[in-house]
């Protein structure tokens, strides 16, 4: 990570800094996240830094030594600063160094596409829940994969740290996604929120409650285990009442005081776990819970459990006594502050709704208690959770965008929320909806990777306002390494109706092949791109090559052009001209002659080639005892010859006749002679026929 700060006094650098910030990747956070191979000290030892932005989310930095007059800047490192290296500083919207994250990207892309398909047909909230779960499965598989990758022994230390960092982030994102799913995507009946939250806490139980419980139970006397009461509290907070009851049977105090045990066991047994609410109204459920709660309080006030302080505390928890929840042993038993929160909600307000203000108050209180107890400040991730619990979905999106170098979460989540209708956003300053803006960010982040252009463009195609602009400019920047890849890109352009881009790909390839002297391939790409201008140019080049060498190169494509000749007149001319040669070589002189005349008279032949074509008629004119051209044809040819003679530039300036011109003049007089002779014999022939 390189935090590149620019010196305010240095004009060059501060302007460069503006270039970086103004490139559309909103502001300061991203600059902090720029990953770079250039360290700060290196930047300082170099003199002037030149920056240039590009659409691959990176800037190229060229460092040049200080000028001589910049004396105040010169230092002892001046010699070392004469580096001519060009650095690329890239800020990543998603780190794609591991296979697991790549799998997440491709898997979630498939889900994303399916979801958009559904969205087109009108959205059912259940579909949103289904896809939210599928995304979560993908996230879970990603974390499992990263876990597996961590075990690879061949990894370098920094690679391992990198993977561990990714693992940490995706595990946390999974927790957050699950919470957002419960709060914003699912439609829950009254009383079900707490069940879902319990499920959430149990699923993401990062303290591995089960391991500890098994460890405690494996001893001969579990109640003497140091974690015995801690695990009892923890299970209570997680609502795993059956496990609590099982553990309590090991308690020596309970064994000795059967009556006390029976009392607490009865309370536990009767905890009103609201699993199914069908047929119950909120008031009924409330009443059910109230009765149980009163019973707990009564027994506690009766001092049933005073003999065993831990048991008394447990009962306090069941009563929902706030002071009990803030006891250090209770806080200690929780791995995360939200474990405590869910436990407290379960025993104080089990029918809470996601929109209740209480949820927010209790959450804030729990976080504060937890942090005070641990002596730490809230971790940034805790603020995400807190915002979600405050029902501030936009804040969650904003915070995740700004704090994590990961667009995956925000883009997919906002898209899902957008379809769910639970995202009300106003038009953003930067000209698009929030969900579209984030999709663009994610897509451009993916595009940085050489493999993911297709996925990136597919995401952009779902951005109605600005997507197209991005698609067009990104497609042009996909390197065309092989023809197969080019064909794939052309198909992509066709799918999204980017005709110009497809043509430009073909033209780039055609030019490249032409530059390499591969005329056949160049012409093929021209025809694929229906590029008439370049085809005409290539046809001329073909002809020029023929004129200079006397034979055609890359014949086979000319022989089988098919309907591609319609692309350009020049190509049609070339193809016909090639036909003429073929007919001549097969001995079909009449047909060859007819072709030649039609080539010259139809107007598809460029004037500069007339002489060459007429020259080709000489062998036909000189076939003994045969008159290939009729008198009418000969008149046409003579007419053309005259036109060549009239328009030739050398006719004006007789003094500046070059050898080339002289050659042409000789040719013309030779041709005239041959044509006149032919006219004579053709007339005689016609007479005879009559």
């Amino acid at each position: 990570m390189a935090d590149v700060e620019y010196d305010e006094n240095d004009e060059e650098r501060s302007s460069a800094s503006r270039v970086g910030a103004g490139s559309g990747y909103n502001g300061d956070e991203e600059e902090e996240e720029a990953t770079s191979s250039l360290t700060m000290s290196e930047v300082h030892t170099c003199g002037r830094v030149l920056l240039r932005t590009n659409p691959r989310n990176s800037i190229a930095i060229f460092t040049a030594p200080y000028d001589d007059h910049d004396d105040d800047h010169s230092n002892s490192d001046k010699e070392t600063a004469t580096s001519t290296d060009l650095y690329e500083v890239q800020w990543s919207g998603i780190v794609l160094t591991t296979d697991s994250v790549r799998k997440l990207v491709s898997q979630s892309h498939a889900f994303f596409m399916e979801l958009q398909e559904y969205a087109g047909k009108g959205m059912d909230p259940d579909v949103c829940v289904k896809y939210s779960r599928l995304y979560r499965v993908a996230l879970y598989e990603c974390t499992q994969g990263l876990n597996y990758e961590c075990e690879n022994v061949d990894l370098e230390e920094n690679e391992l740290q990198d993977i561990k960092g990714q693992l940490e982030m995706y595990s946390l994102l999974n927790v957050l996604w699950h919470l957002c799913e419960i709060l914003f995507i699912e439609t829950l009946p009254v009383g079900c929120l707490i069940q879902q939250l319990l499920e959430w806490v149990r699923w993401h139980d990062r303290g591995d409650t089960d391991d500890v419980m098994n460890d405690v139970m494996s001893g001969v006397r579990p109640d003497t285990h140091q974690d015995y009461w801690s695990i009892v509290y923890r299970l209570t907070l997680q609502g795993r009442i059956d496990d609590v009851r099982k553990l309590l049977t090991y308690s020596s105090y309970c064994k000795e005081n059967k009556k006390v045990f029976d009392s607490i066991d009865e309370l536990l047994r009767k905890v009103p776990m609201i699993k199914s609410v069908i047929g119950h109204s909120r008031t009924e459920l409330m009443g059910l819970w109230f009765v149980w709660n009163q019973e707990c309080k009564r027994r506690r006030d009766r001092q049933d459990f005073v003999g065993c302080p831990q048991l008394n505390l447990l009962c306090g928890l069941l009563c929902g006594d706030k002071s009990c929840f803030s006891r250090p042993e209770v806080i200690d038993c929780c791995k995360m502050w939200y474990d405590m929160l869910v436990g407290r909600l379960l025993y104080t307000s089990p029918l809470i709704l996601s929109t209740d203000y209480d949820l927010h108050v209790i959450a804030k209180d729990c976080l504060k208690l937890y942090c005070d107890h641990k002596g730490t400040a809230p971790y940034y991730f805790d603020t995400f959770i807190l915002s979600a619990l405050e029902n501030k979905v936009i804040d969650v999106i904003k915070m995740v965008s700004s704090k994590l170098s990961n667009w995956w979460f925000v883009s997919h989540m906002t898209n899902l929320l957008h379809h769910r209708g639970s995202l009300v956003t106003s038009q953003l300053e930067y000209g698009s909806q929030l969900s579209e803006f984030l999709l663009i960010e994610y897509a451009t982040a993916l595009f940085v990777h050489p493999s993911l252009w297709e996925v990136a463009i597919s995401y952009l195609s779902y951005c109605p306002t600005q997507g197209r602009h991005f698609m067009c400019s990104l497609v042009e920047r996909v390197p065309l390494t092989t023809s197969t890849k080019a064909l794939k890109l052309i198909r992509l352009c066709q799918r999204y109706e980017m005709t110009e881009e497809a043509q430009s790909i073909c033209r780039v390839l055609a030019r490249r092949c032409y530059g390499d002297g591969r005329m056949g391939s160049a012409l093929t790409w021209c025809i694929k791109g229906q590029d008439a201008t370049f085809a005409a140019f290539l046809a001329e080049k073909y002809f020029d090559f023929y004129e200079s060498i006397g034979e055609f190169g890359d014949l086979s494509i000319l022989d089988y052009l098919g309907d591609a000749v319609l692309l350009s007149n020049r190509l049609a001319f070339l193809s016909k001209y090639r036909d003429f040669h073929k007919q001549y070589s097969f001995g079909n002189y009449e047909a060859a002659g007819q072709l030649l005349v039609s080539l010259l008279t139809s107007g598809i032949t460029l004037k500069k080639y007339w002489l060459t074509l007429l020259t080709d008629s000489i062998p036909l004119l000189q076939i003994p005892d045969k008159c290939v051209f009729s008198s009418a044809d000969t008149y046409e040819l003579l007419h053309i010859l005259q036109e060549i003679d009239n328009t030739s530039s050398y006719s004006d300036q007789k003094d500046m006749i070059t050898s080339q011109d002289e050659f042409s003049i000789n040719k013309i007089s030779l041709l005239r002679l041959a044509l006149v002779r032919n006219l004579q014999s053709s007339l005689v022939l016609r007479e005879r026929k009559h």
Partner: protein
Amino acid sequence: MSEPVLKYIGHKASKVRWEPVESIERGTRFVTGSYDDKVNKVRLYNYSLDDSTGSFNEPNEVSSCSVSGDVTDLLFIDRRYLLVALSNGSVSVIKNEDNTLCPAYEWKGVHCSNASPVPVTSITHYSLTNDDTVLTAGEDGRIAVLRLDKPTPSSFIDDKDSTSITSLISYYHSEVLAANLSGQLKLWDLRASSTAPAKTFPISSSSMVSVNCLSHHPNQSHMITAGCDNGSIGFLDLRQERIPISFLQGHTMEVWESRFHSLYPDNLISCSQDGSLLHWASLQRHYNRDPHHAVSSSSNDDHIWSHTAIAKGNFEATRLIPESNVHSVNSFDVSNKNCVVGVTDGEAMYVLPNIDCH
């Protein structure tokens, strides 16, 4: 037929090939070659039966080996050696040592144009019998002859026609058929001294259609299929002077590969840019056919893939992977036990443990 198994592999694969095995044993390993990645790799996967449950395990990567460019083609010489055609003009030899892939040799810059390397597009055996010589084709329009014991290409065939060759297959003893980007097929006799092809003909005379792949019938090597960029699969009979071509229409975009099943040649499988993997079989299956019938048959019309049968549309295509796949299926291979593996641009792999073949 069982449902295809979908596995995300975290890279785009351009080719997949089963490791060659003796006909009676079950192939359990296949290789894939990636393209477009920061570091491209050839990966070896194991796909085996779990003896305890009787079902297949998910394919898992056993070993991998980095290569210096995009993988454009893969060819097994035998179980130990694998040739890899690369986009940087090189051909790499990879050795499989106890299920560990390691680079053995690389012919650098086999295909070049103006001294800059161009992609190698196809690689094939020199002839159906000769094992230690291979032919490669490249975008420079040349064919190179590589002997496995020689450090440099032994010769080149260059017919002064620079259109990129897209696919190359050997045909009988010393003849080779090449298809190019502009849709022409050229037949060369490698024994002839002339560098000009013995025969040149277009796949379509009416318009320019590129041919992306060629393959031949396992026991009638004059029977050729050609996958075209308009989604059709051409069938050619090289024995006849005027080579007749008929087409099967099933795909809508480039057919990247089309091949007959090596043991059940009445079945043809093809994959395409449009995201489909199709299994073609005749509607009128000849169940009680004499196994030697096809070889000895002189009349072409008796053959299941005859031009008349194709023209009549006697074939049905079954989709092997779900329609929800929108990504190009770049390559597939069928094992001798009818297990099909296909790889897509969606960084996914589809495995069909047992397709229905007759």
